[in-house]
Amino acid sequence: MNFLNFIIYSFAGVLIASIVSLIPALHVYNIAGLIILISLNYKNLIPSEYLPVFMMSMIVTYSFLNIIPSIFLGAPDDSTIFVVLPGQKYMLEGRGFEAVVVSNIGSLVGIIFLFISTPFLFVFLPKIGKILTPHMFWILTLILVYMILSEWPKGMERAKTRLGNFWDAWKSLLAGILTLILSGFLGIIIFNKSLLPLDISFQNIMPAFVGLFAVPWIITNILSKVKIPKQYICKTVDLNFNLIMRGGVAGFLGGMFAAFFPVVTGGIGGLLAGHATAQRDERIFVLSQGVSKTVYYVGAFLLFFVPSLNVTRGGLAWMISPFYTPHTINDYLIALGTMLFAAGLSFLITFAYSKFVIKIVEKIDYTIISYFVLAFIVLLVFYLTGFMGILIMLVSTMIGLIPVMFNSRRMNCLGILLIPIILNMSGLGPKVALFLGLIK
């Protein structure tokens, strides 16, 4: 491998991901899919040995920078959904930059932990993988059950009757269960019968995710007419080693869990990280979510390079697996080196990018920005997935608005992935699809 080419492809990955990350609702996987399609037609564009370098740089950068649209533009994806509420709270107190910096430090901590965990990945993870892989079906069911059972009632208990209080509390719980069922139903349809034309069917899930996670939040911002106060650009953040360690360990465990288990996304990792930290301190929470999302995205891709593990996790690994197969420890070391290089660059870029976005949100009315972001998302979904994509997005938005309106956990929208996969693993998937007339 040529060192100069390594630098060029790393920079290219960082550059492209840094643009993608700032565009609300555009996921790095959407662009990665397009780039792979282009590189198939133009063979010399990215030689297969540099494909992992390019992709690793992209995913690292995306995992650092995707916090910015989540906090300042109110357009989260499934991995940043938990951080939006505290993040926006920070922003409404004029401390949005601080939230980005804390999350950015978390992302860097996640990268350091991934680097340190190399012996664990090589020695223990293959064994754990061998034990757990045949049991994935019921483990994923457990996650689904835990998501339902661990949701907390949100009622204020001021109704006149006990039944009134009970109903008040259960409204949010029932809304959560309804969200899970409806998103699961949508997932069954999408997974069994691609609603998009075959040539763009790899973008199948994108309009659904945009509708479930990003659009409802933007609509909320528009309706609530959020006013952004002047944002304070802090010179230091109130973090110490102990806080970083607490948030770091919790976020790493949550992120690794999400990276290792199929279908479990960064959002679920974030949920577990939140439960594991059990801290009321928002700094730890935001930090641990930063760690978790980076470990989820980057860790899943890094696992692809562990020679004895033989696992393919995360969208990116699935996309490049037909074109590239890692063989030796050298491949892992190159991936690790790229990860560190891209992380260093991304850490620095995040500061500049967030200052840039702050200037925009301070100058322009936030409602106008929200309208603009919404229009942009609709156009983007239309461009990438056509009219059918817009329809999927609309249906998903309706489902995604349920938890917003009833104050239940938005993570229930992940039923879109969990329910169809669990049904398929249990052998019930085809029967359900047949019953629904999705397959013949």
Binding site: P134, N165, R246, A276
Partner: protein, 336 residues
């Protein structure tokens, strides 16, 4: 213990049954999931059902903008005195004070057995993360006190700090010469009994088979056993036993280290059991060495280094509670 710890324990207990592991592996059976569900169920029943059907005698809903600590103390004392005088238990529900979407007013309630009174102190405004906003404590009319005409007995001698979401309830009940004060009287009663667990497990067993019933009961039972290490205990043989026992006071339900150890031990047990019941086990170490190397030694190390990573509690709830106690002591000293 937190829900995730109970959930993990319930699953771990189920994996001791070879038949259950093989069923999950070969027949896509949900039987191990039942352990997790029943591990969480006692608290689910309390917090999602039981608490909403509790009948209270008094409701205290303070005005967040003009809280009247004396009024709150008076109502609490009135309920306590009535319970003592009539011998009929009285329950009081205290509500939180919500100022805005993200802002609440904190207050504390302390039943002082030395002074035989109830003291209510209004605290600062706090965020939904329970972090106080400095300088928001009321300048006057901050403390209210009311006399209780009985000797007091309570599970934990500590002020209750009330701030976000929903407030607690108290039950006053005369027991001989003493007036017993029970925090969250609806919690850990019928739901935290082996008898109710056994009945529910029997239903599960009749529907899904003997193994499912046994795993469900064990998941439930281990929840109760784990809770006995805390402060509140449980009503172990309801309806034969009428009230919850006292806990062993060995671990706080919110202890992050305690919860972490339980989850970690459960994960190790699950891995060990799944492996030993598989066709080609890969863990060659005997069970005692496995737990020595992977649990006991790391746990000791974590326990030793954990104090080095202690972080400041920025919610200052405990600080307010301590200050409260110090103030009470000071008043007692002066009084004596």
């Amino acid at each position: 213990m937190k829900g995730i710890a109970h959930f993990a324990t319930g699953i771990a207990v189920g994996t001791f049954f070879k038949e259950a592991v093989l069923k999950a592996l070969n027949d896509q059976s949900f039987v191990l999931v039942l352990g997790g569900i029943f591990g969480l169920l006692p608290d689910t029943l309390d917090f999602k059902f039981g608490k909403y059907f509790e009948k209270v005698d008094y409701v205290i809903d303070p005005d967040p903008n003009k809280p009247k600590p004396q009024e709150i103390a008076k109502i609490l004392a009135k309920a306590a005195n009535e319970a003592y005088k009539t011998g009929k238990p009285k329950k009081v529900q205290l509500h939180t004070m919500k100022i805005s979407a993200f802002r609440w007013r904190r207050y504390g309630v302390f039943f002082n057995p030395k002074e035989k009174n109830v003291v209510v102190e209004i605290g600062p405004e706090v965020s939904t993360s329970q972090v106080p906003y400095y300088g928001t404590e009321p300048k006057r009319n901050k403390v209210g006190k009311a006399k209780i005409k009985a000797k007091l007995s309570q599970e934990v001698l500590k002020p209750s700090i009330i701030d976000i979401m929903t407030g607690p309830s108290f039950k006053f009940e005369r027991k001989g010469d003493l007036l017993e004060i029970k925090f969250l009287p609806w919690h850990r009663q019928w739901s935290h009994s082996f008898t109710v667990g056994a009945i529910l497990a029997l239903v599960v067993g009749l529907i899904f088979g003997k193994l499912a019933g046994i795993i469900s009961f064990l998941g439930w039972a281990f929840h109760i056993i784990e809770d006995l290490f805390g402060f509140m205990g449980g009503n172990l043989l309801f309806p034969i036993t009428k009230d919850r026992t006292k806990g062993a006071h060995l671990i706080k339900a919110s202890s992050s280290l305690g919860n972490f150890f339980v989850v970690y031990a459960s994960v190790l047990i699950i891995l060990f059991n799944l492996d030993r019941f598989s066709n080609s086990p890969i863990i060659k170490t005997p069970w005692y060495l496995y737990f020595l190397f992977y649990f006991i030694i790391p746990a000791i190390l974590i326990f030793l280094i954990a104090p080095l990573f202690k972080i400041e509690d920025i919610t200052e709830r405990d600080k307010m509670a301590e200050k409260f106690l110090e103030e009470m002591d000071e008043v007692s000293e002066e009084f004596l």
